[in-house]
């Protein structure tokens, strides 16, 4: 399978630098204004269930064990074991070494298995190693691959190299979905976020993802807004829909609902679906479950009633 660029590689630089600049003050004000929307009662219940279905429940620690990954998979299948009406999460996200364990634990559940690859989180390894990493994750059963781009190459202006690497990883993925992590916390400007988004989409990404969760600045509302504008404009221009995944730092239901409002107002409700929007998170799920329990029981819930992950 080959991925053909909709534009020639020689045009890449001029195309990316020809994208309109991002109005920093405007995008931040817009994100802040949308964050003040109040979502209550029945709408809130629906928003919470949708957010649960969008969670990529993640564990990316050096201390991950097969037991911990199996426990997380069990939680992903039945986030609230006491309430069968609670939907499962979208996917479990692990390191490639844990993909086999997670694949067995998720068999038949419909929950996707995402694996980070390509020398996550830095991406600072030879391309061959990163491709082998990707193939290993796919062979172990991952049907979604979260790759990191070479931020160093991107920041140095070597867009062609970043483009070709994404194309190569996409090929190594085979039928698995490819999520491209831009690591926006290291891209410094909104203009770079917009350029990196377009670069990844042109190279064949199925999803663009904000962050690894391993640096100081993770997903923020304004950055996600810029990326949602990019996927909206990309679909208009090329007819292909790309998903968006903010990751890192989204800890509570209030934050999650702000993102849902942002999607609806920016990219449109086509993206209000786990196939096109995901939350990369770990602690978010428990807060969603607590809020869900509050709505079903009528009293406030507490963390003692949910598992520690």
């Amino acid at each position: 399978m080959t991925v053909t660029a909709p534009i020639g590689l020689s045009d890449l630089r001029s195309f990316l630098h020809g994208l309109p600049g991002v109005d920093k003050v405007g995008v931040e004000a817009r994100a802040a204004a949308l964050g003040t929307r109040s979502v209550k009662a029945g709408s809130k219940a629906k928003a919470i269930d949708l957010a649960i279905r969008m969670v990529d429940l993640t564990t990316l620690e050096g201390a991950d064990t097969p037991g911990k990954v199996r426990a997380l998979c069990a939680k992903g299948r039945h986030p609230d074991p006491g309430d069968p009406s609670c939907p499962p999460v979208a996917a479990i996200c692990v390191y490639p070494a844990m993909a086999g364990v997670a694949h067995a634990a998720l068999a038949g559940s419909g929950v996707h298995l995402a694996s980070v690859a390509t020398a996550f989180p830095s991406g600072q390894a030879p391309l061959e190693v990163r491709l082998a990493d990707t193939r290993a994750a796919v062979e172990a059963g991952a049907d979604e691959i979260d790759m990191v781009i070479s931020r160093g190459a991107f920041l140095a202006g070597d867009y062609t190299r970043v483009f070709e690497e994404i194309v190569a990883v996409k090929q190594a993925c085979g039928s698995a979905h490819l999520k491209v992590i831009l690591e926006t916390g290291e891209l410094a400007t909104y203009d770079n976020v917009r350029r990196a988004s377009w670069l990844a989409m042109l190279a064949g990404a199925d999803f663009i993802k904000t962050s690894t969760g391993k640096v100081a600045v993770n997903a923020t509302l304004p950055i996600t807004l810029v990326m949602l504008e990019a996927v909206r404009d990309f679909r208009e221009r090329h007819g292909r829909q790309i998903g968006v995944k903010p990751a890192g730092g989204i800890k509570n239901t209030k934050d999650a609902i702000k993102y849902l409002v942002l999607i609806n107002e920016t990219a449109g409700d086509d993206w209000l679906d786990p196939a096109w929007f995901r939350f990369g998170a770990s602690s978010l799920l428990n807060d969603l479950l607590m809020q869900r329990t509050k709505l079903t029981t009528g009293h406030y819930s507490g963390p003692d009633y949910f598992t520690l992950d």
């Binding site: 009528g298 406030y300 819930s301 507490g302 963390p303 003692d304």
Partner: protein, 281 residues
């Protein structure tokens, strides 16, 4: 001309006084009610707490609990002693709010009395147990956790429910009866090295907020000492049963604040942990 006469009137008043709004005390800060509501008490503007303020206060109390319980008993005692110092320093302010001198003395004395218990309660409420086997068997009291309190009126009433709860390492969400006195006490706490969130004070109608705290799954105990209506107290106790909270019932015939409180107010909010350890190895 009216303009100039107005200017003269202002000059005669010398200055405009800054009117105080009594706000809530949550997580070491003094926010207004999330609902934006206020009400008048003796001419003062006072925040009227909502259920969301109660929720926020529980979050703050929970966040502060492990740190406060983890501090050494000696340190907790020092901090509470400091509170007594600061109440002494603000005597004039409490007096202006109508707290009689006798009650003020009693409140400071009671606070100091409880502060002294911080490193002694474990010896009285716990200890080594004789067992039929080669084991050390030790019982140690631990704080129950987050305690929601409906406080009785007055400064002494507040001290009589807050001090016994926090001295052992619990954190509290207090629904106060006298807003100005309670928030003045909060100003004392905020300047006494008491970590933010250990004591949270809400003013307003407890009949509105207490049911939310009684049913809240992240609250471990409910002190109903200040509840005056038997029916409401019973209703709150039933709500608390849903999550197996410790409940302190309001005393029959109202609380006698002048009586020796004894150890019960402290021991009611302690859980006993017993450890077995093999001997002789």
């Amino acid at each position: 001309m009216p303009k100039s006469s107005k200017a003269v009137a202002v000059a005669e008043n010398a200055r405009l006084t800054v009117r105080k709004t009594y706000k809530l005390y949550i997580g070491g800060k003094f926010p207004r009610s999330e609902s934006g509501r206020t009400y008048l008490v003796d001419g003062d503007n006072v925040a009227l707490a909502s259920r969301k303020d109660a929720r926020d206060a529980v979050v703050a109390a929970r966040a502060a609990q492990s740190g406060w319980a983890g501090a050494t008993a000696y340190n907790r005692g020092q901090v509470l002693y400091r509170v007594a110092e600061m109440v002494e320093a603000r005597r004039a302010e409490f007096t202006a709010l109508g707290v009689p001198a006798g009650e003020l003395d009693a409140a400071v004395d009671r606070w100091v009395w409880y502060a002294g218990w911080s490193d002694k309660i474990a010896q009285v409420a716990g200890g080594a147990n004789p067992v039929a086997g080669p084991f050390f068997n030790i019982s140690a009291p631990e704080p129950t956790g987050v305690v929601a309190v409906v406080a009785p009126a007055g400064l002494l009433g507040l001290v009589s429910v807050i001090a016994p709860a926090v001295v052992t390492g619990n954190t509290t969400v207090v629904l106060a009866a006298d807003p100005q006195i309670a928030i003045t006490l909060a100003e004392v706490l905020a300047t006494s090295d008491v970590p933010g969130g250990v004591v949270n004070i809400l003013t307003g109608r407890y009949a509105e907020t207490a049911p939310w705290l009684a049913a809240h799954a992240d609250v471990n105990a409910l002190d109903l000492t200040g509840v005056e209506h038997a029916e409401l107290a019973a209703e709150l106790e039933r709500a608390a049963a849903g999550t197996l909270k410790r409940v302190i019932r309001p005393p029959d015939g109202g609380i006698d604040l002048s009586a020796d409180p004894g150890l019960k107010p402290m021991t009611a909010l302690l859980e006993t942990k017993t450890v077995w350890h093999p001997k002789g190895y």
